[in-house]
Each structure stands twice: as C-alpha cells, then as structure tokens.
Amino acid sequence: MTVLLQANNIAKHFGGIRALKGVSLTIKTGEIYGLIGPNGAGKTTFFNVITGLYPRDGGDIVFDGQPLHVESPHEVTKAGIARTFQNIRLFAEMSALENVMVGRHLRSKGSVIGAVLRTPAVRAEEAAIKAKATELLAYVGIASKADVRAASLSYGDQRRLEIARALATEPKLLALDEPAAGMNATETAGLRALIEKIRADGTSVLLIEHDVKLIMGLCDRVAVLDYGEKIAEDVPAVVQKDPRVVSAYLGVPYEQ
C-alpha cells in the first residue's frame, strides 16, 4: 500500500504547554487509521495542526507525495483532507442540502460575473452542485432531510450531515474527530457501517475516538497518544496489549 499521509516530528505548544512533542505517523492509502489516547493527550491538537487550523511549531507533513502547506485550512481541504469537528460545526440556519452544497465550493468555480449574468455554464454548474449534494445526502442516509434546517436535525443526523459536507470536497483522507461521541449503540453501529462504506469507496479515514469497541473493530491500525507523544502504533490487537498503553489508560500496575 502506498503512503497517503506522512507526518514527521509534529510539534505544537501553547505558551509553556507542549501539546505535541514531535509526533510522527504514517497513514496508508485505503486505511482506516485510529488515533486514541486519554483526554488531553493531544489528539484534537494533532488534527487541528494537520488540517491547518493551528500553525505548527515544528515538523513537516507530506500528503499524497507532496509537501502539505498548512498555512490556511482551505488549502489543506483543497489538497484533499476534509474534516469534521468534535463539537459539531454545521451552518445551523442553512438546510441540510445547502450545507452540503457549501462543501462543493472548492470543486466548483462560478465567478461573480458568471453569477450575475447567470451564464449557461454557471446554471449547469449550480444544477450539478445540487445533484451532487442530493446524492451525498442519500449516501450518508439522510436524503429525506434535505430541506430540514441543520440545527433541527437529530444529533446522529447532524454527525452524518457533517460527514456528507466533508465528502462533498472530494477528499482523499477524511478526518473524523470523535464522530461517535454522544451516540447510542444503534447510531454507532450505523456510523460504523458508513465509515466502512466510505473506505470501500476509496477514501482513507483518520479517526479520533473514545469508543474503544468502535476503534478496535473498525481500524486497520491505531496510534496511541499520551502527553503529546506517540506511545504505540500497530494493529488494534497488539496495541490493546501494549503495557505502555495499558498504563496510560489505567495507571502503572502495583509492584509487590
């Protein structure tokens, strides 16, 4: 398998707090890659650094064979990394369909003049954007909610809508920040099926999650962060038994 994303020695500090102390990891094409760790381990910080939300203080990223410029989030999205947020960030007052249509911004090019003159090309593009957005809503399973205001959707549907919006940017890597947080067992099972479908359709997935069952059942490989450092990276079965991981989560065993 080819390497899709290679992060080398990523560092990030906030004042005196070193949130990431040189984290390196490699995500391969077609993989579902899990990132776990106790609260405050730096998972979301790592996410925010690779998606350009935070400027990094060290290290470099190679994505899809090219050095990734992470000066601004929209360039990262353009390069092919789309994300969702831990605290859902939808355009609350727009309909579900409009939310996904915004996701098409990057892959369409209608200009001001085109919009004002409403040229045939722009009209065709608008129709294509709408068709693609409708298709994506069906893909994540909320086709019937197209005209519902995003804020009125149920929690599980909001998560799905956020994924549809991210997929609208045609990413090579979909980065999901705790997508199962707050979901019940049925919703989580549905989400798992959706993530597997996304991978089967050719998009690699980076997943931050607290739900250990989900991570262990779904991910091909898992990295564990603790205090801003990667303490393990392997297939789930091995990581689960790694003494450093066990001690990070449960503490050091009592020595007689």
């Binding site: 789309a82 915004v102 996701g103 919009a115 940017t169």
Partner: protein, 350 residues
C-alpha cells in the same frame, strides 16, 4: 408554461405600477414627494449594498456611508466647474463603483480577522477617516474644497418637452433611479443564490467550518466588502448629480446608522425586507415632519414641540416599537425567522 405566464404578467404589472407611480404621487401630493421617492430609491440601492456585507456575510459595518461619499465626490469632481470637467454620467458611474470597490477592499483587508463589535469599531473609524479627509483635502492642493463642499455639479437630467407637455427632471431622475435600483436588485438576488452567496452565509454561520469546507474566507469576505462598497459608490454618484451639491457633512455617522437601520428594520439578509426598510425609513420621517405640526394644533390648539424635533422623536419611537415587536425585522428571510424562533424555543426551555 403557466408559471412562466404568471411571471410575465407579474413583471408587467410591477413595471406599469413603477412607471405610473411618479405621476400618481406628483398629481396628488406635488413634486416634493417625487423628490422623496427619488431619495427612497437611492436609499434602496445603498441599503442593498450594505445588506451584502451585513446581511449576507454577517460583517457589521458602521462606516458604510464612506463608500457613498467616495462615489459622490468622484461624480462631483468629474462633473462640475470645480476642475472644469464635465464627464457624462455613464462614464462616471462605473468609475465611482470601481473606486468605491477598491476602497471597500482597503477597508476590508485590515479587518479580516475581526468580527462583531471589534469590526464595527474599526469600520466606524474608517468612515470617519474618509469624512475628515474630505473635510481637509482643500490644502495644500484643493481637491475637495473642504467643508464648503462642491457646488454647481452637473444635474443628472434636465426637464424635457414631449409634444408640448413638460416632463419635469424629477420624473426623468425617477426613471433613471428605478432602472438602476432594479439592476442592483437583480444583481443582489443572483449573487444571493450563487456559489458566492452560499459562501457568505456559511461565513456568517460559522467561519471555521467555512474554512474547513475549502472556502477562502479572506477572498470571499473581501468580495463582499468590494461589491457592497461599489453599490454604495453608484448610489453616491447619483446622489451627487441629484443634489448638485456635496459636502462632507452629508456623510456622517448618523447616515451610516440610518442605512444600517434600514437593513435591520426591514429584515437583514432578505432583499424585499431591505427594500421595504429603505422606503419606510425614508418616507416615515417625512410624514412625521408634515403631521407633527397640524396634529398638535388639532389636539392642543397650538404647537408645543417644533415639528423638526418631533420628527426625530417619533422616528425613534417607531424604531423601538418595531424592534420590540418584530425583532427579526418587518420582512425577515425564512432563515432568519427560523433563527429567532429557534432562539425563543431555547429561551423557553432554559
């Protein structure tokens, strides 16, 4: 097909109504009211421009009148005895729009990281800077003629004779303004339902999520500032030719707030609402001025309060009443209405 016919019929009716309006008003109330109508149209153009920045993109701009001033002075400088230039209207308006648009970007560029109150303060400062420049650019080289302003500006239109019937210049101005206002309405409507319009709303709703969706928020915001400002520039040029006189005092903070009130009172982000807001806030104070005197005489037998001060008092009360009973504006967009209802529900739950 039926839909299309209905649409054509609707447009024809509106066209006839707009064409007949000045005659109806002129015959019944006199030319002063046609002047008022012309002003209402100017404010519609201004308010629609500000609506792009405030209503669509959610960027609170308190210095918007500066672009109106830029457009007005461009016209004044290019079509008056001040520099001895007398360029035609159709040549000046695009220049005014362009220069105002550039000023819009100049204002926008340093404020890109600001939102809400902070943005409001910076834009307020910018508006004042422009006005103070206009006030002082009469030395060492006299460009703006300072506080005295520029007089003798070429009129937009002259009265003409049609088969012995004299058509007053106010009517011709009216038709010019209607045409340009309609143009601006169409442009705004098309922008609203475009890729760019969606990006503006996305930025208003959640800027970080908009960035994550691949929107270059810097460029999209600058475009909002530039387009809004260029509409203001067009309206300013028309104002200049209409009044045939400009001076810095026409472009103070009060005017900025007035235009913002039109947008908010009418229904932020909703084009028909903004148009209604502009008409109401232009006509209402004038009605109050006319009623304030006679009404007092009828009620109390004499005038206690000067009609001019009464006008502002009643105007203030009207604003408070609207905001109290229709906080989303007179004609809110469906999106904004939902937002308010949602907020009310949340409030009820809490």
């Amino acid at each position: 097909m039926l839909e299309k016919h209905k649409k054509i019929a609707g447009c024809t009716l509106i066209a006839i109504a707009l064409a007949a309006l000045p005659f109806v008003i002129g015959m019944s109330f006199g030319n002063a009211w046609i002047r008022m109508l012309d002003f209402a149209l100017l404010y519609i153009m201004l308010a629609l421009g500000l609506n792009i920045v405030v209503g669509f993109a959610g960027l609170l701009d308190l210095g918007y009148i500066a672009f109106y001033a830029v457009g007005a002075y461009i016209y004044a400088l290019l079509a008056s005895p001040h520099f001895g230039l007398h360029w035609p209207l159709w040549a000046i308006l695009p220049i005014g729009a362009l220069v105002a648009g550039v000023f819009g970007m100049l204002l926008g560029a340093p404020t890109l990281r600001l939102r809400g109150d902070y943005l409001a303060i910076v834009t307020l400062g910018f508006g004042e800077i422009i006005r103070i420049f206009l006030n002082n650019l009469n030395a060492p080289v006299n460009i703006t003629n300072g506080p005295k302003g520029i007089a003798g500006i070429d009129p937009l239109a002259k009265s003409i004779d049609i088969f012995g019937y004299q058509l007053h210049s106010l009517y011709i101005t009216y038709y010019l303004f209607v045409a340009l206002a309609l143009l601006i309405v169409i442009v705004t409507m098309r922008l609203e339902n475009s890729r760019l319009g969606r990006a503006w709303v996305a930025i208003r709703e959640d800027e970080i999520a908009a960035k994550a969706c691949g929107i270059n928020t810097r460029n999209v915001k600058l475009l909002a500032f530039a387009l809004g400002a260029s509409f203001g520039g067009v309206a300013g040029g028309l104002f200049s030719g209409f009044q045939q006189f400009v001076s810095p005092e026409s472009f103070g903070l009060f005017e900025s707030i007035m235009v913002l009130s039109m947008v908010v009172l009418g229904g932020m982000g909703n084009i028909p609402g903004v148009i209604l807001g502009a008409v109401v806030l232009t006509v209402l104070p004038e009605l109050f001025r006319q009623w304030a005197g006679p009404m007092q005489v009828a009620l109390f037998g004499q005038t206690y309060i000067d009609p001019e001060s009464m006008r502002l008092l009643l105007f203030g009360i009207a604003l408070i009443l609207v905001m109290r009973f229709r906080p989303m504006g007179l004609l809110p967009s469906s999106r904004r209405k939902a937002e308010f209802e949602h907020a009310a529900e949340e409030g009820a739950k809490a």
